[in-house]
Symmetry: C2
């Protein structure tokens, strides 16, 4: 019943997503690159969250969840606007009187661009989860390296029908802050572990040297440097015919330590590294590889996600499947 | 370990929140009205989500989750900007060339208001979850009433240290769309059920006639009408000394049916009603009433939230408590 309704609603999904998602009603479309999802996909996200928690337990991380919104002050400090101005979303709000409200309403009704009736607030949309983490350690000296397990919704302004390229999506990041050795060890370790994790989900994995989508001509140079110095890798899996990065491993050197005034035990700026997993991309790849019904996924994949416990979607007995 | 670290990070929480939250490190502050949270509070949110699912199962709802972002086209159609212009958040982005990027960077570096360097996008922050629901039924005739169980993050631009008044928060909404009788029955039913639900969590409940925070002088008239016609009620509980609405029950009559072109079986505009639960406010009230350690909460409350299953935070044996 539930599934059939989501399926019917899902028929509004645009072409460009793999058939398994478009035709099987796992998503409903609300705009280009923006989707709602039903109970079955939510169970996959929960399963992925559980499986990732199990991966990082040994590091005894500080577990933190963040809202989809980041303080503008943190964003400005982060230098994101220098590197990725084309991707951020800033929150604007209306702060006028009743006269100004009438003008705003008129502009909306006429279908005009009403952006000028609003003003920048103290908030931006979080472009990544780890930007919420660094300021918490600002102005401190770390006696030893710290691991943080951070979750939240992120936003990137790149509306697209490309599979897995969403404007609003969940990111799970394991962040390490400490000495240069702490960070580089984390980077090396998660290069291995993240691809092994994705492979255990029954996905065809390729690990690639990668670079961030830096803006403009000077950005091209930064991207080349990043790639040459081996500071970013991506775990790439197929969704339909498209190779899609489902995880990225990033070495920041002392970039965030400097910016947010975090010192390692020796008084030098702390180094950091993080690995980020895109939950929607992983879920879409799983559906593409194993089919739209989680009840029919391979045992070992179900075991990884739900451990066979009561949270597992049933094998055709009940629930959304 | 995890708990102690979150506690230390949590010391940056501003005054104004109840001591139980401020002092016990359940939250970390990122800005006024904006908080990250640790594993223990996340377990409470999960427990509340489970308990609410159990409440609505009988109605066989369509289960849908939505991202924190809403298409601007839906927002414009919803008439939100007429009623609550002071609360919405619109997403702006930068779309310039390298020269424009230099100007933007300069404005950010100088601490100027850089809002004018960005333009309105096709996205706004979701002010409520049910706005994502109505358009899915747009242009249809409902052969019978529909129930939707909808979840997501919402944004309201009212930064505050008032307990439970967050700028970014999770809303769980049970929406009914159908005939006038479908909607009014839902409204009456959830007037009872939502307060009974909150009472079973061991909270001191008061149900009050309420009105929405409509903008301006004409808004005052709308609020008075809404209250007189009994179209909104709130379930209010104490957090510290503050009475806080943790649930609201709303009768929309044919407002959304008209706007989004949804017809009831008789061809008339569909009526709708919804009940919304604020998960953060419920969690904060629980901590305020039962203390900061979920392991020490009353058995019946733990049973409601976690059913005593493996998802339940341990009684001091393991996990975050």
């Amino acid at each position: 019943m539930t599934y059939e309704m989501v399926k019917r609603l899902g028929e509004s999904i645009p072409a460009g997503l793999p058939n398994s998602l478009r035709d099987h009603g796992l998503l409903v479309s609300t705009a280009t690159g923006l989707y709602g999802w039903g109970a079955e996909l939510e169970a996959v996200y929960s399963g992925l969250a559980n499986a990732l928690s199990a991966e990082v337990t040994g590091a005894e991380p500080i577990v933190l969840h963040f809202p989809p919104v980041l303080p503008r002050a943190v964003f400005e400090k982060s230098e994101y606007v220098s590197s990725f101005p084309h991707l951020f979303g800033a929150v604007h709000a209306f702060r006028g009187d009743e006269g100004a409200h009438e003008s705003l309403e008129r502009a909306v009704t006429k279908g005009e661009d009403w952006g000028g009736h609003t003003r920048l607030t103290d908030f931006v949309l979080a472009p990544a989860v780890c930007y919420s983490v660094y300021p918490l350690f600002g102005g401190t000296v770390l006696d030893r390296g710290r691991a943080v397990d951070a979750s939240g919704f992120c936003f990137r302004h790149e509306p697209s029908t490309e599979p897995g390229r969403l404007v609003s999506f969940r990111l799970r990041e394991f962040v390490r802050i400490g000495s240069p050795a702490d960070a580089s060890t984390w980077f090396e370790e998660w290069n291995e572990r993240s691809s092994a994790f994705v492979r255990r989900l029954g996905l065809k994995v390729r690990v690639e040297a990668a670079s961030d989508p830096f803006f403009g001509t000077s950005g091209q140079v930064m991207a080349e440097n990043q790639r040459e110095e081996g500071m970013k890798a991506e775990v790439v899996v197929p969704i339909g015919d498209h190779p899609v990065a489902v995880a990225s491993i990033n070495l920041h050197r002392d970039h965030f330590g400097r910016i947010f005034d975090i010192q390692a035990a020796d008084g030098e700026p702390a180094h950091s590294a993080c690995v980020g997993f895109g939950l929607e991309r992983l879920a879409f790849a799983l559906v593409d590889a194993h089919g739209p019904r989680t009840s029919q996924w391979p045992d070992e994949v179900r075991e990884s996600l739900w451990g066979g416990g009561p949270g597992a979607p049933g094998r055709g007995l009940s629930g959304p499947s």
